[in-house]
Point group: D2
Chain length 442, copies 4
Amino acid sequence: MMAAMSEPPAQRHARVRSQSLALAEGLSEADCQVQSMPDASPLKWHLAHTTWFFETFVLEPFEPGYAPHHPAYRVLFNSYYQGVGERHPRAQRGLVTRPGLAEVRAWRAAVDARVQALLRAPPAAADGAALAAAVELGLQHEQQHQELMLTDLLHLFACNPLAPAWRPGPAPAIGAGEAADPAPAWCPFEGGLVEIGHAGAGFAFDNETPRHRQWLAPYALARRLVTQGEWLEFMAAGGYREPRWWLAAGWDWRQAQGIEAPQYWQRAEGVGAGGWHRFTLRGLLPLDLPAPVAHLSLYEADAYARWRAACEGRPLRLPTEAEWEHAAAAGAGPGLAEGNFADGQAWLALPARAGSAKGDAPLQLFGDLWEWTASSYGPYPGFRPWAGAVGEYNGKFMIEQSVLRGGSCATPREHIRASYRNFFPAATRWQFSGLRLACDLG
Amino acid sequence: MMAAMSEPPAQRHARVRSQSLALAEGLSEADCQVQSMPDASPLKWHLAHTTWFFETFVLEPFEPGYAPHHPAYRVLFNSYYQGVGERHPRAQRGLVTRPGLAEVRAWRAAVDARVQALLRAPPAAADGAALAAAVELGLQHEQQHQELMLTDLLHLFACNPLAPAWRPGPAPAIGAGEAADPAPAWCPFEGGLVEIGHAGAGFAFDNETPRHRQWLAPYALARRLVTQGEWLEFMAAGGYREPRWWLAAGWDWRQAQGIEAPQYWQRAEGVGAGGWHRFTLRGLLPLDLPAPVAHLSLYEADAYARWRAACEGRPLRLPTEAEWEHAAAAGAGPGLAEGNFADGQAWLALPARAGSAKGDAPLQLFGDLWEWTASSYGPYPGFRPWAGAVGEYNGKFMIEQSVLRGGSCATPREHIRASYRNFFPAATRWQFSGLRLACDLG
Amino acid sequence: MMAAMSEPPAQRHARVRSQSLALAEGLSEADCQVQSMPDASPLKWHLAHTTWFFETFVLEPFEPGYAPHHPAYRVLFNSYYQGVGERHPRAQRGLVTRPGLAEVRAWRAAVDARVQALLRAPPAAADGAALAAAVELGLQHEQQHQELMLTDLLHLFACNPLAPAWRPGPAPAIGAGEAADPAPAWCPFEGGLVEIGHAGAGFAFDNETPRHRQWLAPYALARRLVTQGEWLEFMAAGGYREPRWWLAAGWDWRQAQGIEAPQYWQRAEGVGAGGWHRFTLRGLLPLDLPAPVAHLSLYEADAYARWRAACEGRPLRLPTEAEWEHAAAAGAGPGLAEGNFADGQAWLALPARAGSAKGDAPLQLFGDLWEWTASSYGPYPGFRPWAGAVGEYNGKFMIEQSVLRGGSCATPREHIRASYRNFFPAATRWQFSGLRLACDLG
Amino acid sequence: MMAAMSEPPAQRHARVRSQSLALAEGLSEADCQVQSMPDASPLKWHLAHTTWFFETFVLEPFEPGYAPHHPAYRVLFNSYYQGVGERHPRAQRGLVTRPGLAEVRAWRAAVDARVQALLRAPPAAADGAALAAAVELGLQHEQQHQELMLTDLLHLFACNPLAPAWRPGPAPAIGAGEAADPAPAWCPFEGGLVEIGHAGAGFAFDNETPRHRQWLAPYALARRLVTQGEWLEFMAAGGYREPRWWLAAGWDWRQAQGIEAPQYWQRAEGVGAGGWHRFTLRGLLPLDLPAPVAHLSLYEADAYARWRAACEGRPLRLPTEAEWEHAAAAGAGPGLAEGNFADGQAWLALPARAGSAKGDAPLQLFGDLWEWTASSYGPYPGFRPWAGAVGEYNGKFMIEQSVLRGGSCATPREHIRASYRNFFPAATRWQFSGLRLACDLG
């Protein structure tokens, strides 16, 4: 499941682990304690659970004379691994005030030191490749939780009427030229018998494999994500009140929840955009009309596509994950190496991105927002979960969830790749999720 | 959406409509009134709603001087067509005791007479093909509800501790030879670039189109459905208690609902099979070990496949809908014309079926049980819903449901075809649903 | 628990039992089958359960060679008597379509015949007084269910958008003189050390005993019930929108349920009273402003009293049950014997009642509406439940319910008495419940 | 609503306020942040809300040139006073991580200083008596929340599988002589026309007034509370499995919640008492058989009384609040002045108390456990709520709650008095609640 990384493993381990602590800087023990909804977790829990992962999957099998740091933590900080044993109920993670934040940090430090010792002098009996693979899996897992720390913190702060900011300050300015782009341009693809999925070197999760063939009809992808300004048009056109744009389950959800706008949008004092503002990790900000609209459910994304298709009289829809990956992997747009991905955490208030790429390549593929696709999350043909408890990582969630592709401004840059499959239920909105339109051709 | 049927339309209309009333024979007004759960509907409602469909989509657009039979029925018996206007809440269908059953029957008769008049002498101004298409859609819709009448009645009777029977009497006897078949044989398919979906003459729903190409890796399908006897083995092996076989959502569902056996299985006095019996439309019957196991959720079907794969050390799983259709459409097994489909309603207690087909062709494809697939229900590439309110028929449900293929013993025979896509949420059990295993090859 | 009735027991038994069937005249099997909410029961169930009561508490202990009519009915039609054994779940009463209505009627007839035989020739071994007491309890129980048959039917019909009527036709006309009575007059009582509760001859439930002393401060009761016209004033004054009039639990209930008017009030086409109408057993009728307002929760009744107290600057409130009984029992108003109670079932649409009583005696005490009191339902000092399973009749409900006094237009006349204690949770509205104001004096 | 206290007001204010902070000593910011259930509140919220009370009801009306410390706190820390305006939703109190604990403490200090300034030099324009009354109400309110801080903290810690202790250490030892007391002795009272309720000097809440007459039949009270040992007998006798001892609502609650023992009782390793332990603010402790049993619902207390009555063949039951107050106020037992009340917070693990009182006076009336009574919480005859927003303090909760009397080991000693009326719904268990039996005499 992994391949060699150019960075020395011990250095990489130290760097990635420290990044989790950096995210918590400036937060109080209370900020790190609270669980604002069952789907979210306390930041302290994230710090503890990622440590549990290393203790369980690295130290326990590889460390000679292994003994647990605290025997109760094995149950307390297990997330969903039935193969590891009992678990503390998910919805009660926020009730565990002891161990406190300082104790969890101490546990992190102790486990990190033991992992570092292992990496620097692996015992002869240990299978070096297996140890490296386990550590790398732990770091990939850590990076997933780094994104969740931000999404969960945003949800928590949004529950506070005082609207606190994680990193106060202005969002990056928008290039003037971009704001003039009224409609997305389209990037066409011929399709045919293509291959998707991970193969070769580099880490990938089991759910990205095996690489396999798939037939695609000709299609086009929008050059950029749907913007906040376009979303205002949808709202002004009564998009949230008209059942014909909505999937039946989406309409029921919308009515039951009273949904009228993207999550974290709220009306506040101020001119423009009908008074709409958006709550971000930088606090409450006015809309940024040319920037992508975020925190959408799949239901909303899908309704938008239907409405837009009717407006334009064209077969617009969400892309499938195969269409998306084929476009992204074919080098159709600027990749990570080309700098399309900016310093993620500076962008958490989602300004419009510079369209540096020339020609008709899709923009904003990586590092802005996770993009909802029309694909349900399921196994690739020939899929085999990893052996052991880590086989629960992905496979057992392959029902009634939808795939998101790309990676958001909250995703660590090195955690992003074209074959990555993120997945959430269709009603999910607290992730950094947006949409890009696709169109049938021919 | 349709093509010519060899039977004269008026005759076909009268025949299909009368079949609905035949299903209700022997039932009391009370039996036809009650809604036993929100997912089910009263039989009287089915009789009324199918009439509403003809009044709304045939009489209203095609009958000169159309006037409604009763103005309130338009709202009262609309199921989910937002395009037609308001609807009575689904969960309250059983509360409408007026109009009574006699009034609904009278409404049926009146609408039938008006449709017959239209069919026998369509007004010059009417588009004959459009009228015929609308009537045919009404009849296909009627046949879907005929199956639902049986599934909903079974659920209602199962709620009654007195265990009433719809059609008392013994289930057909099982051929002695069949009981000796201990394990399924396998039917291999090469795969490659195949086509699935409906094309050409004959009725099909919009969701079966367009016919399109899909790449399949080599696979095999089990020659027959999983049996009641095999299910007992799964139960005896602790299959319902072991989380590793289950999808995460399935395990949560199983625990919350306390599921320990297929729906309608219950322990009763009697020898054999651990005392397990199954409640059927013929009343409470002992298990029939070589007969297919029915009333499974997708979660259970999927767990069984994982357990069986581990037992046998082979990559067993549910088939995809493309694999299933490719096998069924390629004439791999005996079709409807060959008599594999028996008189459906005689079989509602699901005996084992005669394996008349020779060679290695899959059996029991049509007319036994709907077969859960591994495919989420979504649009085919290039899918366009029908225009108008009937466009709500299928497309708006394309999220968080799974596809079932084949057709059950409760499905009208002429409503069955290889391209048919049935769909329900993964937890659904009150339909006649079973499973057939698939296996990766090569 | 009972005393001699002047009517011969067998005649009384036949008369009261036949009255239940008379209430169901004109109703279909469907009307009698459906349970419109968990708190209500199907009419067929009422007919069956009252028969179960006679079979269980009369035939089983007193009939020589007793055998049950159908062994399953003992469980199927038990309501809440844990001492009798298992029970069918209350919320599933409406799902039992078999036995059908005809079978239940046949069961009634068979049990009635057996009770009649017992009453006409009690076996020598039987304790005659105990048999008579058991039969009388069965008849009192029957009369309670007669009222529930009407309240439950009203709730069911109110769920039907076609607004069916049980007994169509106009409500009785209102005397012109009454409409002119703008405000209630007051009937003062000195209080002091009074006695309440049942004693002496005549049937009473255990919860009406023992008769006991209670100290009352001076008080006054309104001469009549609060009217529909007065309720409109409360609504016009924003009574449903102003939290300060409401108990905290009442306000939460009001907001959660979106309550804006008494149950069964709805806006419809028509002039006057802001378009408000009320759904009754006679169908949808306009308001009758001088008639009492019905179908109130205790929360609404209490809020009205607080609002009225603030308007008038007087200590208005609901009466306690002791105050009510003291006034009613002291002959302060016209009693049953004086004809204040009209033919109940003619009045189900609740017109204003003739104020025939002269002087300052309270009117409308009996036979109009159950009157909410300020008293929680609890045991009288020295209360002892009846022995055996019938001890579950009243005592086990003595928590978190409030007492209503009087008797409504749906109560059988002979079931009404001054010491009678009806009880329901504070949110209950489907009963014929209204309110009378009280005022502290001195 | 108050009278002069002998302690100078400013000194009393400082002392009572500081006690709240003392309770939070040793707790982390996380411990003070979390809300473990909607009925409980975070400790930080208690510290903030009690400060809000002084700011709103003391500073705002009495301080010249009043300005709020932080304008948003008025909404954020309002509990339920509709008259003060909007409120933050109760169930979301735990989500407010900002202001942090330090900010709340700073707010406390600032408001305390301003109140102290007022008390030391009340402005000429202020009504001195009204100011003193408002401050005293704030302190009484503070003391109520001091008890809630402990009950809410206990609930939170009980949710933690690590079983943390607030104040570790052993519970006080039990005198050997007490353990030998096998059954309660009884204290008889003649009853008659008695007076209950508050009158005269000293603070009381509005719900304790007016003092009024009530007739009591002869009765007896148990000399002591029901013990943990007696509760084990009830459990061993199947008391939790036998519906006949339970109120109907209690049985439904017990079944729905799966209740098998008092709250905080759990089985753990160890000998004796069937392995039962109790979780306390001192951590997990073994049972203390002669000590009172705590954390009972009214349903459990009532069931115990019925079971005991059947065992003994005597009319045992819960006392009414009038019976309790008459006994307590008549000097029947040792009062606060006599030292029956120990240092509350030392006793939170509830050992048996020394029966120092001689003769037949009831023991343990004050300072052990709140005692459930048979009385629903309602207004006394002639009750008038206080004017203004503080009138919401008690009156609006007078429905569907039951009265508890006495005061617990978590109640500040000076907050206890014979006329005090505590009230909670019948299912409440997280308070320090127990029971004392009563018996009808004559």
